[in-house]
């Protein structure tokens, strides 16, 4: 049986207009839900951004003694330059280390104040050709005995731990986003269910007049889809607005600088919301309708 497009458009439009109370309620519920999911996803993105700079390619660090002589530093540098297993390295002098330290711990000013540049060790940050843990560890140990070297630190022991903490936080926020998503789906399904309940007489009558299930279902499903999409647009506007306000005002606090979520990343979030809106709106309506069409 052919379902005519104009029937669907008209029927859906009428349902939306004539049950304006329900329409507003459903759209609001979906908008709020999706806004919460979107916020969760964006916070997660922010946390990831903040941790990104810890995830560079540095594989081990050679810390010199703060009072190592220039010759000692030079000899290590020569060694690094001539070793074919070293892909790249950078020397970070005491001033640079201090700057990094200050930046890192700008939120702990008493720590910053307690340390001077000359207390901090200069270091080489080394990227080997091979990233295998054993290989890197072997390679790094070669430098441990050299004069002026205080300690060699491996990614496995340090950066990876930083990353682990980052992952923990990131996972926490992801869990939060998933909880919100589940909550949103539940809420949307509930909304549709209540909308169907409110119109149980209508559905009953349609069945009595000989309408097939698909004939009754499809306008309701389209209605769910429209609810989802309108809710999504509202949620997306709130997210973009929220992002703009936050990145203008709040995030110029230095420690939160890296937390900024870009407009592009916001778009990705909105895409996710669009998907959720379509899937939950359509599938949800379909399930809810079938529940009430079962004679």
């Amino acid at each position: 049986m052919a379902l005519k497009v104009d029937y669907l458009v008209r029927e859906t439009g009428q349902n939306l207009r004539r049950n304006i109370t329900l329409t507003v309620a459903a759209v609001l519920t979906i908008a709020v839900s999706l806004f919460l999911v979107g916020s969760g996803l964006m916070i997660r993105q922010g946390v990831q951004n903040a941790f990104q700079r810890w995830e560079g390619g540095i594989e081990f660090i050679i810390f010199m003694n703060p009072d190592a002589t220039e010759e000692q530093v030079q000899s290590i540098e020569d060694e690094l330059g001539s070793n074919p297993q070293i892909k790249d390295y950078t020397f970070v002098d005491q001033e640079e280390t201090y700057d990094e330290f200050v930046e890192l711990f700008s939120d702990q000013p008493n720590m910053v104040e307690s340390v001077e540049a000359e207390d901090l060790p200069p270091s080489f940050r080394v990227i080997p050709t091979n990233t295998d843990a054993d290989f890197v560890s072997e390679l790094g140990k070669n430098f441990e005995a050299s004069a002026g070297v205080r300690r060699v630190i491996f990614a496995a022991d340090s950066i990876k731990q930083v990353q682990r903490v980052g992952a923990w936080i990131s996972t926490g926020v992801l869990v939060m986003a998933i909880v919100l998503l589940t909550a949103a789906s539940l809420l949307i399904l509930n909304t549709i269910r209540m909308a169907m309940f409110a119109r149980r007489n209508e559905i009953e009558i349609m069945k009595l007049v000989g309408a097939t299930n698909s004939y009754i279902r499809i306008p309701f499903i389209l209605e769910g889809l429209v609810h989802g999409l309108v809710g999504m647009v509202i949620a997306a506007s709130l997210l973009f607005g929220g992002r703009a306000v936050l990145s203008d005002r709040v995030l110029d606090l230095p420690i939160l600088e890296n937390f900024v979520v870009t407009v592009n990343e916001t778009w990705v979030t909105v895409l996710v919301l669009l998907l959720v809106a379509i899937v939950v709106g359509t599938v949800g309506s379909a399930i809810a309708v079938s529940r009430f069409l079962d004679v």
């Binding site: 049986m1 029937y7 004539r18 049950n19 209508e202 349609m206 007049v209 000989g210 097939t212 299930n213």
Partner: protein
């Protein structure tokens, strides 16, 4: 066209709305279903459209046993049967014209058919000037006429009418009965439950009388009592 074989319908609480009822209604017949309130008239009609499933017995509509009809086929059964409901059952959020048009759209009639048929049938039941009213803006009799228009509009094989004149004044009732008679003459089988002694006695058609679920009389060219 319609055949009941020892049909019983027992509702919960041991209410026998229909008890061992058998009847055979031929194509083109006009049958009055009479009996006191609660005697099972509406139940009789609801069994024919599969709104209810019989507790015992077999029902055939247009030669098909509707007892083992799979769910998805029920709409197609109902399309062959026009129903006028005792409580109208209009869609509250559609206006009069849309309520009637809906019955045509459901069975996939093209737009131009809908556009010509709907005003014609509204004219017939005398509601042309109420086409844009919502059901709650109609008088009881007007709602009943919309219900009749909706049942007629797709020219079904069978027409079931549950007290279609219950809320109508005598003059309008006569008009409706003339309409039903005309429909019946085109070959449509009509089964009508009614309390209207005047109508039954004037029309002199087959009368099936129910009493506490039992068929106590089945008389060609009968009267109300």
């Amino acid at each position: 066209m319609i055949k009941l074989e020892n049909v019983s319908k027992i509702y919960k609480g041991d209410v026998s709305a229909l008890l061992e009822a058998s009847a055979d209604i031929q194509k083109g017949e006009f049958v009055f279903l009479v009996g006191p309130s609660g005697s099972g008239k509406s139940t009789f009609l609801r069994l024919l459209t599969r709104e209810e499933v019989p507790t015992r017995g077999k029902i055939f509509v247009a030669g098909k046993d509707i007892g083992d009809l799979s769910k998805w086929k029920i709409p197609f059964l109902r399309r062959n049967i026009g129903s006028v409901f005792q409580d109208f059952k209009l869609l509250p959020n559609k206006d009069v014209a849309e309520n009637v048009a809906f019955a045509l759209e459901v069975i996939g009639r093209p737009k131009h058919v809908v556009k010509t048929q709907v005003p014609a049938i509204l004219e017939l039941v005398g509601l042309s000037d109420k086409a844009q009213n919502m059901p709650n803006e109609l008088s009881g009799g007007e709602q009943q006429r919309v219900s009749i228009a909706r049942a007629f509009v797709n020219r079904p094989l069978i027409l079931l009418a549950d007290e279609p004149t219950g809320n109508l004044d005598p003059a309008t009732s006569v008009g409706i009965m003339k309409l039903l008679d005309r429909i019946n003459r085109t070959g449509t089988t009509v089964v009508m439950a009614t309390h209207d002694r005047g109508i039954v006695d004037t029309m002199r058609r087959r009368v099936i009388e129910l009493d506490r679920g039992k068929i106590v009389r089945d008389q060609a060219r009968g009267v109300y009592e």
